[in-house]
Subunit: 206 residues, 2 copies
DNA sequence: GTCTATAAAGGGATAGAC
DNA sequence: GTCTATCCCTTTATAGAC
């Protein structure tokens, strides 16, 4: 393997596990199986190594949830499929560790939070928005702002699961509990966005 | 002021600003206006000082959103009031810094995440659940699981605002953008939970 | 209890051999 | 390019005077 990749892989693991400040270049070198001096051949200093790790990370955060078949599956079932794939992804150890690190260092590394958001949540949102727009066009969802719908879909199916994962809670993250949150999230989303003609009691916002 | 409080206040500021690992006892001592040796009179070591800061923090995370008048204000307007108070709270610099710190150290400090969740989100959720239950009892909201309703209400009005704040994004956190997210969140929540009799097209979950 | 001064350890970064 | 050995600064923690 390329030595640079070897170092980056080791650094990623160490940073994720220990956090930026607590991670030592010694630990990275040992894990990478090289000497500390070698690190400094490829990376000017600790900060630059960290930045490289984060840039590397972007590529990983590009899953393809919406890839599934577009058949004439009922809308709620399709939403449920997407939701499950999304949440499995969000709760994966890799993504959780990645989020932790970025959130922890966001204030101290200029542009870190923005880069992460653009390459992660923003991309995801964009794809989901396109899906929502098509579904609205086909009459499978009520006509509304597709961007808002995509955002609220994510909000509802994510629930507080991601927060729990970030906080390292063990309870409430079993597969049954997770699936319950997802199902209820999809259910409420569909209630708010199903295409049925409805009678409104009063205007929702005062 | 009590010297212990003086130290805790300084430590809180330093930890929030720099993170656990990067914060130095020197910095805490200087900020507290005492010598470093004095710190060790009251706290055995850095970890214990950190733990004390976090325990202190619990008390702060107990706002009273639902305190407002219970008058015969229309339900959506009432929800909107709660939502605004909630989001203002979640986006406050203090809470954001607090969340960042806890998320960053959750994996390394046993019980930290659980303590934070129990004293923060869980309490909030419990109060909101009671409110939802009363509203459902009074026919102001569709009868449903009050706990789920409370959770989804929070999810919807929070949107990705909290994530954006945690990531330190400057865009999308202006008061107008924030209020738009809140209003749309309340709107969708009310669509899903308004008490109107409705005709469902098909079952939401396959 | 509080300070100054310092011990002891760790970690970022580099010099110089190969 | 890669290593060993080391410099030097920071940081945690403590000793000892007052």
């Amino acid at each position: 393997m390329d030595k640079v990749q070897q170092i980056l892989t080791a650094a990623r693991a160490i940073f994720m596990q220990q956090g930026y400040a607590a991670a030592s270049m010694d630990a990275v070198a040992t894990r990478a199986g090289v000497s500390k001096a070698t690190l400094y051949v490829y990376f000017a200093n600790k900060q630059e190594l960290f930045a490289s790790v984060i840039l590397e990370e972007r590529a990983r955060y590009a899953p393809s949830f919406l890839a599934g078949e577009q058949g004439r599956e009922p809308m709620p079932a399709r939403l449920l499929r997407f939701a499950r794939a999304l949440v499995v992804f969000l709760l994966s150890a890799e993504i959780v560790a990645s989020c932790r690190l970025v959130i922890a260092e966001a204030e101290r590394v200029p542009g870190l939070g923005q880069a992460f958001y653009n390459n992660g949540p923003a991309r995801l949102l964009e794809r989901l928005e396109q899906f929502m727009a098509r579904a609205m066009g086909a009459g499978l969802l009520r006509r509304a702002d597709a961007h808002v719908a995509a955002e609220q879909f994510i909000d509802l199916v994510r629930g507080d699961l991601q927060l729990r994962a970030l906080l390292g809670l063990k309870q409430g993250l079993g597969s049954r509990a997770v699936d319950a949150v997802i199902r209820r999230g999809v259910e409420s989303f569909y209630r708010a966005y199903e295409p049925a003609a409805r009678v409104r009691i009063r205007k929702p916002a005062a």
